[in-house]
């Protein structure tokens, strides 16, 4: 509990995190296909502006521009050797912006997935993944991050590898998964699975939860599931609605009002770290800040109340109900 984020949650009750990184950077002129992490070195003022946008909108914490800053992702841009450098630069700029603020602002070092598949069906080994995560983690900590923030993970194998990589750096961390396939991650992990996964970890996160995924309703259903048996703070970082194609570019249809409603419901569902993901701009964060500060924590909503407020779920079940997982009758299992 002596890390800064746990202290902040204890003091304030809830923490407002930040919004989108990609969406905001594209508004600052990033071209599709260019790795945003290069800007930590090539366009530092734009990254400062990105961070400052969250701070000015009222965030208590923002994530660094280092989501793809691991050697596996950077290899696709022929820059696999720059993982440490770009991670450190992301955090250094973050530290600078946070320290300038009169309020206490935490710098959370973003660590995204490797983009490779692990486990029986994949080809990335545990050891290689651990090394990659350690390298990124070390860069972020050396740049001045207060806490590390693993996000958009789909498989328990990768979540474990990230934990192990971070453990070698010895930093406090938060880890969220993306539940985008009928309430599960694309690898089939349910919210209940995640609670159990985190519970048994040797070097567990100080907070866990969900980010990205489909819509705000689905994300809150996951948060409800997590909150049933959670033994630590929960993160909710949902997208600002659904992406739509308008006049040649992509626009997320969630309004600031919708995101304010989402933020209040997220807190009522049991989340104590609340933010946005894709499509969430400073204007949304401002509305969320105002709503959270101006209202008491509501009672835990029902699924029906969530769908009435934020729209329908993408699937009837998220795999956590009492109904047994449907199984196909076969001639006989061999395993």
């Amino acid at each position: 509990m002596n890390d800064k984020l746990s202290q902040m949650i204890a003091e304030k009750g809830f923490v407002l995190a930040d919004g989108a990184t990609g969406t905001n950077l594209f508004n600052l002129g990033l071209q599709a296909g260019d790795p945003p992490e290069f800007w930590n070195v090539d366009e530092p003022d734009k990254i400062r502006a990105l961070y400052q946008g969250s701070v000015d909108a009222g965030s208590d914490l923002f994530l660094t521009n280092s989501f793809g800053s691991n050697s596996s992702r950077l290899r696709l841009h022929k820059s696999e050797s720059r993982a440490y450098e770009l991670s450190k630069a992301a955090a250094t700029l973050g530290r600078e912006i946070a320290d300038k603020s009169k309020r206490q602002i935490l710098v959370a070092g973003s660590i995204g997935p490797t983009g490779e598949i692990m486990g029986d069906a994949g080809w990335l080994s545990h050891r290689d993944a651990v090394d990659m995560f350690q390298e990124t983690a070390q860069g972020l900590i050396d740049g001045g991050a207060d806490v590390l923030w693993v996000e958009t993970i789909s498989s328990p194998e990768e979540y474990n590898a990230a934990a192990e990589g971070i453990s070698k750096v010895g930093a406090p961390w938060v880890g969220t998964m993306s539940f985008d396939t009928a309430g599960r991650t694309m690898m089939g992990t349910t919210s209940k699975d995640m609670v159990n996964l985190v519970k048994d970890m040797a070097y567990g996160p100080l907070a866990f939860g969900a980010n990205c995924g489909v819509g705000a309703s689905d994300l809150l259903r996951t948060v409800l599931g997590l909150s049933e048996n959670a033994d630590r703070p929960i993160v909710a970082k949902g997208n600002a609605g659904i992406p739509k194609y308008v006049d040649g570019h992509i626009h997320y249809d969630g309004t600031p009002e919708v995101m304010a409603t989402y933020a209040l419901l997220a807190r009522a569902c049991g989340a104590s770290i609340i933010g946005g993901c894709c499509g969430t701009m400073p204007v949304h964060l401002k509305a969320m800040r105002k709503a959270l500060d101006g209202n008491p924590c509501g009672e835990k909503p029902t699924l029906k109340q969530i769908s009435l407020a934020l729209g329908n779920f993408s699937s009837n079940s998220d795999g956590t109900g009492d109904e047994p997982r449907p199984e196909r009758v076969r001639r006989g299992k061999r395993k």
């Binding site: 990609g22 990033l30 071209q31 029986d120 994949g122 599960r184 194609y245 992509i250 795999g319």
Partner: protein, 232 residues
Amino acid sequence: MSDEQDIILADLSDEELTLQMHDDLYDGMKEEIAESVNILLGRGWMPYDILTKALVEGMRIVGIDFRDGILFVPEVLLAANAMKGGMFILKPLLAETGAPRLGNMLIGTVKGDIHDIGKNLVTMMMEGAGFEVKDLGINNPVENYLQELENGEYDILGMSALLTTTMPYMKVVIDTMIEKGMRDDYVVMVGGAPLNEEFSKAIGADAYCRDAAVAVETAKEFMAKKHNQMVI
């Protein structure tokens, strides 16, 4: 048969063996699939019959359960890998025997986008369904698609994008196809996490495919329509 027991594949009747192969595909058992393919070949089965009745049918079941949220990516990857074990044996034989093809597909992730897990799944499932697929890989400018379409004989173009910032590029490809007067020669299917039906219509694609299983179903429907038109 629910007890765990050793199954002697060679002792099974043709019908039982085919059903066992469906199960073994479902469980991702590559060696067993290869063994069964060889047994059926030894019994005088035509390669095309083994492909359609055993492998494609087995993958169809995998696809249904993937679509319905019973199987997830890891299981599908293992099943596709087992299918490959069978295809490795069958492919040269299919070419020799002049077996009919379901259709040809060109697939690739669009320019600016380096994500390929979903695209690879579609490729595997399409091959599992009996399609011939050429994979252009990631980060493809419009020229890559057009050059390959012009040089090959394709029925279907598949485009994938994971990023909201790269999905608009699909429209660039489609618009260029229209300019060149070749748009109507192909079925254009699009997919990727941030896409939806509305987007696919807005950019002028023929179909949005939510996942790899839906891609296979959609491709089959279009090919059936195409064949019907040819008969008329």
